[in-house]
Symmetry: C2
Subunit: 308 residues, 2 copies
C-alpha cells in the first residue's frame, strides 16, 4: 500500500488485480485502504453499449487534466459468464493518456457474479481513493442491473444517451431516469440531439416533481470525438458535487453505500460458504437423489444447509 | 394444484403469483409441481429490447396452435429495482390469443434480485409443465445477465436479432453466440436482413468449430408482424428438440439445470439469511461503528456473522 501511495503504478495494478480476483489478499488490501480514504470524489458513467461512453470519458479526462486535476478511470466490464473475456470496445481512445502521470486507467472484469462486481467496484474505488486520486471515473458498458449496481458505488451518476433515445424502447429507461444525476446526450452532432434533450427534460418533469433533494439533473450535450461540450459536462459534475456537499447529501449517500456494502459482504461470505457446502462430501448423494426425482430442489437445499 | 390441472385458469394465475412473490407458499407449490413434471418442452426467446420478440412469440403461438399444440407463454420482465413496474412493451399483440383455451399467457416480474428471477422462472416453468402444457415459451426483454439466466431455464434457447445486428456493438454479443440454439433475424423485411444472416453464419464459423454436440444453430428469417417465416422458426425449434432427444443432450441439459438450481436455492436462502442477520439485534451498533470509520465492511461482516 505504501508503494502504491508513493506512485508505483505496477504495485497499484497488482493490488487491483487482487481485488478483481476477490481472493484472501483482497480483504487485507481493502481493510488497509479503508483507513486511508475520504478525499476522492467518484463519478459513475453509464449508458447503453455504443453510446460513446469510452470516448466521452477520455475527453473528460482531458478536460480534468487541463484543469490540473489528477484522475483515475475504472472501466467495468460485465463480461459474459461464458466467455469470461473482455468485450470492451474502444479502449484505444484512452491511449492518449497512457503517458500522463496524472491519469490512471484500468479495466476490471466481474468476479463471476453481479454481487462480486458491485463489491469489487467499491473496493477498487476505495483503493484508488486511498492511493491519492481526488477524482475517480467509473465507466461501465453495463445495462440494466449492472448500471444500477455501479450507480450504487458513485457519488454522482451520469447517464449517457444518444440522439433518438427519447423515442427508443428501452427496458430500463425508468430506472435510468431514477439513477441519473447528470444526463449527457452524446454524439450531439447527429440529427435529433436537441429533440432528445427536450424529451429528457419532459421525462424529468414527469418523474421528478418537487425534487427529493432540490437537484434537477442537468441535460448536457456533448460530442465525445471532438471534445465539444465536455467542459459543460465537467461543470455539471462539479455543480452536483457542490450541491451534495452543501446539503449534506454526500455524507448521506456515502453512509447508504456503506450500509449496502455491509449486506453485500455478508451475502458474498454466505455465498462462498454455500458453494463450499454444495461442493462437499454429501454433494454427490444429494445431487443423485435430486436428479432421480427422489427429492426436490428445496429439500436438497435443506440437506445442503442441514448441518448448520 | 388439482384445480389448476383440471384447467382452472384463475387458480393457475394465483399459484403463479405466489411463485412470483417467492413467499412460503411458493415452496409448497414448487414441491407439488416437482412430482408432476416431465412432459413439457421449454423454449427460451431472448434478445435486445425492441427486437420484436413479443410479436414473434405471438405469431409463433399462432403457428403452434394451427398444428394443434397447446402452449403457455411466460413473459419475464426484469423490471427496474427502483420502479418495480412492468416495462413490457407490446403485450397487446398477445390479445389475439386471449380467448383460446389452448393458450396461457402470463407476465412475471422479478422478485427484486436476479437470483430470484432465475428461480421464479424455473418454478413457473415447472408449474406450467405440471398442469399439462406440452410447450412453454419463455420470453424475456432482458439483456446481459438476465438473458443468460433465462437461457439456463430453457431446453432450446432462441436469440432474436434485427437486420444490422452484425455491425452493432453489443456488450454481450459473444455471450449470445454461445447460448443460441436457434438464431432468428426478425423484421427481415428491412434492409440488410440477408447480410445479417450471413454475418451470423460467419460468426458461427468462428466461434463453433467442430460443434460440441454436433448441432449448428440454424439462422431463420422472420417478419413477426406478418407471420412470415414463423413456420420455419417452429420447424427449427422442433429440429433442435429432436437433436437433443436423440443424442441424450436433453437429459444432460435438464440435469445440469437441476444442479444449477440447487446452487440457486441455496444462495437464495443464504441471501435472505444475510439480510435478516444484518437487520438483527446488533445492527445499529455495527452500522454506527462502520459509518464512523471504526470498523471496515469486512470486520462489520465478521461481527454480523459472529454468532455462528
Amino acid at each position: 500500500m505504501e508503494a502504491a501511495r508513493g506512485g508505483d503504478r505496477r504495485v497499484l495494478a497488482r493490488l487491483l488485480s487482487a481485488i478483481e480476483r476477490g481472493d484472501d489478499q483482497s480483504r487485507a488490501i481493502d481493510q488497509a485502504a479503508f483507513g486511508l480514504v475520504g478525499q476522492a470524489y467518484t463519478v459513475g458513467i453509464t449508458g447503453a453499449p455504443g453510446a460513446g461512453k469510452s470516448t466521452l470519458t477520455s475527453a473528460t479526462v482531458a478536460t480534468a487534466r487541463a484543469l490540473g486535476e489528477r484522475i483515475a478511470v475504472l472501466a467495468i466490464d460485465p463480461s459474459s459468464p461464458f466467455s469470461g473475456g473482455a468485450l470492451l470496445g474502444d479502449r484505444t481512445r484512452m491511449n492518449e493518456h497512457a503517458l500522463d502521470d496524472g491519469v490512471f486507467i484500468r479495466s476490471m472484469a466481474t468476479r463471476g457474479h453481479l454481487g462480486g462486481l458491485a463489491l469489487a467496484t467499491r473496493e477498487a474505488g476505495r483503493l484508488l481513493d486511498a492511493v491519492g486520486f481526488p477524482w475517480i471515473l467509473i465507466e461501465t458498458v453495463g445495462v440494466g442491473q449492472v448500471e444500477v449496481e455501479v450507480a450504487g458505488a458513485a457519488d454522482t451518476t451520469v447517464v449517457v444517451v444518444n440522439p433518438g433515445w427519447g423515442d427508443s424502447v428501452q427496458a430500463n429507461k425508468a430506472g435510468l431516469m431514477e439513477i441519473a444525476d447528470v444526463f449527457v446526450v452524446n454524439k450531439a452532432d447527429r440529427d435529433g440531439a436537441a429533440q432528445t434533450a427536450h424529451d429528457i427534460e419532459g421525462m424529468l418533469d414527469l418523474t421528478r416533481g418537487v425534487a427529493d433533494d432540490g437537484w434537477r439533473p442537468p441535460v448536457v450535450s456533448t460530442v465525445g470525438t471532438t471534445g465539444a461540450g465536455t467542459q459543460e459536462f465537467w461543470d455539471a459534475i462539479v455543480a452536483h458535487r457542490c450541491h451534495l456537499e452543501s446539503t449534506g447529501g454526500l455524507e448521506q449517500r456515502r453512509q447508504d453505500r456503506l450500509r449496502d456494502e455491509l449486506v453485500l459482504v455478508v451475502q458474498h461470505r454466505l455465498r462462498a460458504e454455500a458453494e463450499a457446502r454444495v461442493a462437499a462430501a454429501d454433494r454427490e448423494r444429494i445431487e443423485h437423489d435430486l436428479l432421480h426425482g427422489r427429492i426436490d430442489p428445496w429439500t436438497a437445499a435443506d440437506q445442503v444447509l442441514g448441518d448448520r
